[in-house]
């Protein structure tokens, strides 16, 4: 019986792979739900802080914080949010492609590009390009915490404040729905003017301690919350992409098993027929 044993062991191996991909699919599905929940929870803070900055812009026109001033773009910083683990389809590749396009855009305009990388996939990819990497965090896990991101965000903010960077962008995958994740680049610094809304035209806050300190604190928190949002959204995207990729893998494994089973049955049938023919032939000879 040539072949049947090999086919059988092949089927067994594909089956065990399918078990793994199926488990990964289910794990990703439940993690995605939790990540989406965290995305939802982060929204009120981002909205509130946006309103406060809008009010600030309306209230305090004479003091301009450096984060609000647009400079000649000579140096551009890009924060790239990627996943720590693979097996999530084209998610990271798409984010990197968007980043590369953005980089080429600015390099064509004569700007220097430096990077800040969140997630180990991004680090592995961009290390090869030889561009300056200002900061990187890996191992954020499925629940990124604000405090894990603060360090690298601070590096970028300080570089901006010192004039080493004139623009800061963040590139991350945006969660459209389970099937679609769209990589998008958003400008973080300088902070684009936000509409003050429905307040009367002339009034000002009481500042405690001073306007500069408070603006600094609020704007810093705003940027941090934006980066946090990017990280959380990226996790949701990773899980959704992994879920879809693993579903496809499980389906493919199913098809493969079906085909192998067919080949196996044929081989077994052929072997039985051959044996029968041999017995009949032998009996006839006697």
């Amino acid at each position: 019986m040539p072949g049947t044993k090999e086919i059988r062991s092949k089927i067994a191996s594909v089956k065990s792979t399918q078990k793994i991909t199926k488990a990964m699919e289910m794990v990703a599905a439940s993690k995605m739900r939790r990540a989406q929940e965290r995305m939802r929870l982060a929204r009120p803070y981002a909205d509130k802080i946006r309103t406060v900055i809008g009010h600030l812009n309306a209230a305090n026109p004479d003091y301009r914080h450096p984060f609000l001033v647009t400079r000649e773009p000579k140096n551009v910083g890009i924060i790239v949010v990627s996943s720590d683990r693979g097996l999530c389809g084209a998610l990271n590749a798409n984010v990197f492609k968007t980043t590369l396009l953005l980089m080429r855009d600015w390099q064509a305009k004569g700007a220097n590009v430096s990077l800040c990388l969140l997630g180990s996939k991004g680090l592995a990819f961009f290390r090869r390009l030889g561009l300056p990497i200002l900061a990187s965090v890996t191992g954020l896990g499925d629940k990124p915490h604000v405090k894990d991101l603060l360090g690298s965000v601070k590096v970028m903010l300080d570089a901006y404040r010192d004039g080493q960077l004139d623009r800061v962008f963040i590139v991350n995958a945006q969660f459209v729905n389970t099937m679609t994740q769209k990589p998008e680049a958003v400008q973080l610094l300088p902070v684009e003017t936000i509409d003050g809304g429905d307040l009367q035209e002339h009034w000002d806050y009481i500042y405690e301690p001073g306007a500069a300190d408070i603006l600094d604190g609020v704007l810093m928190r705003y940027i941090e919350s934006q980066v946090y949002r990017g990280a959380v959204e990226s996790v949701a995207c990773e899980m959704a992409a992994r879920m879809v990729a693993m579903k496809a893998a499980s389906d493919n494994a199913g098809n493969l098993i079906g085909e192998l089973q067919l080949v196996y049955n044929k081989a077994r049938q052929a072997a039985i027929t051959k044996e029968l023919a041999e017995i009949v032939g032998g009996a006839a000879a006697v």
């Binding site: 309103t51 406060v52 604000v146 000002d204 806050y205």
Partner: protein, 141 residues
């Protein structure tokens, strides 16, 4: 009725903590505790680690722990943007003590300035959490 209450929102980057009407709100501002009554003048301030107290219209007093943050006051609205705010009952006393111990141990050892600043901040935070817990315990009996 609308004139006797002020809308209070407490949010942190990782979730919404409280949203509702209040008779009075007390916050640990950078330069000392602030009591905010309805129709307060617009004010913007930073917060230090401590407790935010909210007096609700039905006479209840709610406690929230904030680890720092920012505060915005509009005549009809208070917004507390907390760095890490937890519900007071969730604050684990043992964890606070452990954090305090860690900070104190770190202060004793040989460390550079950055670590020392971090340790001091952690110490302040743990002390504020402990104070709040003791207060809560007193109220409960």
């Amino acid at each position: 009725m609308a004139d006797h209450t002020i809308h209070c929102d407490i949010v942190s980057a990782e979730g919404e903590i409280f949203s509702g009407a209040a008779k009075m709100v007390f916050v640990p501002a950078a330069q000392g505790e602030l009591g905010i009554a309805p129709r307060h003048a617009p004010l913007l301030s930073l917060l230090k680690a401590g407790e935010v107290r909210v007096l609700t219209p039905d006479g209840q007093e709610l406690f929230f722990f904030v680890g720092g943050g920012a505060l915005e006051i509009q005549p009809k609205k208070v917004t507390v943007l907390a760095d890490t705010a937890l519900r007071a009952k969730d604050v684990d006393e043992a964890a606070a003590l452990a954090a305090k111990q860690r900070a104190e141990e770190a202060l004793k050892g040989k460390i550079d300035k950055i670590e020392q600043a971090e340790a001091l901040a952690e110490l302040a935070r743990a002390a504020a959490q402990l104070r709040l817990l003791q207060k809560l315990r007193k109220i409960k009996g």
